[in-house]
Amino acid sequence: MIEAHGLTMRYGKKTAVDDVTFTVHPGKVTGFLGPNGAGKSTTMRLIVGLDHPTRGTVTINGRGYDQHRAPLQEVGALLDAKAVHTGRSAYNHLLAIGATHGIGKTRVQEVIEMTGLGPVAKKRVGGFSLGMGQRLGIASALLGDPHTLILDEPVNGLDPEGVVWVRNLVRFYAGEGRTVFLSSHLMSEMALTADHIIVVGRGRVLADAPVADIVARAAGTTVRVCSPQASRLVELLAGKGISITSTTPQWLEVTGSTAKAIGEVAAAAQLVLHELTPVTGSLEDAYMALTQDSVEYHSTTTGMHPDHLGADLALSSTEGAAR
């Protein structure tokens, strides 16, 4: 169990993690989700004491990470696949890390086999591909057979087989009653792997709920409308806590209303509707909706209206048709 309380981290003027409180429970896979720069990696570094928080505390099974007798048995962390001396072989790297805890060759060989590093284990890490580096990072995290597994973007650079393997591994660990905390900026990956999700943006917790709840939050809130009189319909619907966006002429996405209400409005004004479809939210939509305001680095050429997804589910009324 990982418990963070009021965790805050500032680097100079920039607040990377802002008063974050959450609990990661054993027995399930908890996803840590957020856009780039949201503070995921910093939070994970704070958990294992690589950074010192400006304020707040974080404990693992009730104690600070450095208070444990066998830290590697308590927490196995992959924070950065590049945290390896490039001049040393994978085998020697693992041997040296394990040696601090009296973990010997047998276990080193085991994690090398588990992660498929066998053929390259005696080669120097400097020549490793991204995926091989990632496997070494995971091997290193597994060394102490830890009660808690913390993986920062574990599937980065892995081939499809590796991705599936990581997914099975974390599910297996969680199934044994261990704590698994997994970060990603990829919603789709999380949807397949996690039971519970903590969404962060700009250093703050935006949501902390089971996957199903987060999906439900987005479900049924958007209605797709097609009408030759779309702009007229926008005028009628606007200003009622409803957000409307449009990607193509005649097509509207209405958030904050229901298909029933829109249909009635259209009928009252005698507008023609070609389509009126409630859109079931995906986890992706929920995630985008949650983090829209919190994306640190917006791409400028998204090809879509940035507020297409409706930043705050019911507040703004956007005349998307005018765009």
Partner: protein
């Protein structure tokens, strides 16, 4: 690489076979870990080999020249040759001392190290222990070979140094001690600056450049000069004759060889303690 097969976690259960023995963090184990790290890098092998080769090479060169042409006085070889050999070897030792720690920062390895040893200081001390013991053993070994070489070239001619002489013994013991302290000095500065090039430049500046700057005949500088780490530490390597010659017309304090070495150790202690405090405080 694409043929690599990842073992299913259910096949090799991480639980079924937990690591054998008492898994726990201890200082001795951290030292062992640092020893594995130390001996598994090529830079270590190269710099240690360079240390031995430079020392033995210089002693061999001097002995060979003396054996072939004599020094005209029939006097035995001056033990000062070890002072020259040690100051040359100290360059290789400095590189190793710096790289042992900055290599971890430049590659990111330090984050793995500190994640395994979250209290941090044991890792720093363990590195210092491994470095100091290795340098001491290797330079003692180089001294041994040098003495054998000397005996081979000069023994028959009665030109080999008298090992029973107190001053000779002091220098023979002083060389490994000096090189060990210099390695720790470089290590401490590496730990402070966390950057290979910066730390190397700083250590070499402190040992070589600043010394020359203090040649400027300005009295305040002359008073500080004897307490520079390189100047003070090197006294343990010098014969009394050389020390006396250096002392001529000097206005600053005149330290005994061991006092000088003590000053070098004090530098090491202060820099290493500062590095320790910063290691605890800084974000890795």
């Amino acid at each position: 690489m694409s043929t690599t097969v990842l073992t299913s976690p259910t096949e090799t259960s991480p639980v079924a076979r937990p690591p054998a023995g008492d898994v726990r963090l201890t200082f001795v184990r951290v030292v062992n870990s640092e020893w594995i790290k130390f001996r598994t890098l090529r830079s270590t092998i190269w710099t240690l080999a360079a240390t031995v080769m430079v020392m033995v090479g210089i002693v061999t060169l001097f002995s060979a020249i003396l054996a072939s042409q004599g020094n005209g006085r029939g006097a035995p070889i001056s033990i000062d040759v070890f002072s020259i050999a040690a100051s040359m070897a100290s360059l290789a030792v400095v590189v190793l001392g710096v790289l042992v720690i900055t290599g971890e920062y430049s590659t990111g390895m330090i984050r793995s190290t500190l994640a395994a040893v979250p209290r941090r200081l044991p890792a720093l001390w363990a590195k210092a222990v491994v470095l100091a013991v290795s340098i001491f053993v290797v330079s003692t070994f180089a001294m041994g070979i040098s003495l054998v070489v000397m005996a081979l070239f000069l023994g028959g001619k009665g030109l080999a140094p008298d090992l029973g002489d107190g001053q000779t013994l002091r220098i023979l013991v002083g060389v490994p001690l000096y090189l060990t302290a210099i390695a720790l000095l470089a290590f401490a500065i590496g730990a402070l600056l966390r950057h290979s090039a910066g730390a190397l430049a700083t250590v070499l500046g402190l040992l070589l450049v600043i010394q020359n700057l203090f040649m400027i005949p300005w009295t305040p500088l002359q008073h500080i000069s004897p307490f520079l780490p390189g100047t003070a530490g090197a006294r343990v390597l010098m014969t009394q004759a050389s020390l006396d010659a250096m002392g001529q017309g000097s206005v600053g304090a005149i330290l005994s060889p061991w006092q000088g070495y003590g000053v070098l150790l004090a530098w090491v202690a202060v820099l290493l303690s500062t590095a320790a405090v910063l290691l605890r405080r800084r974000n890795a």
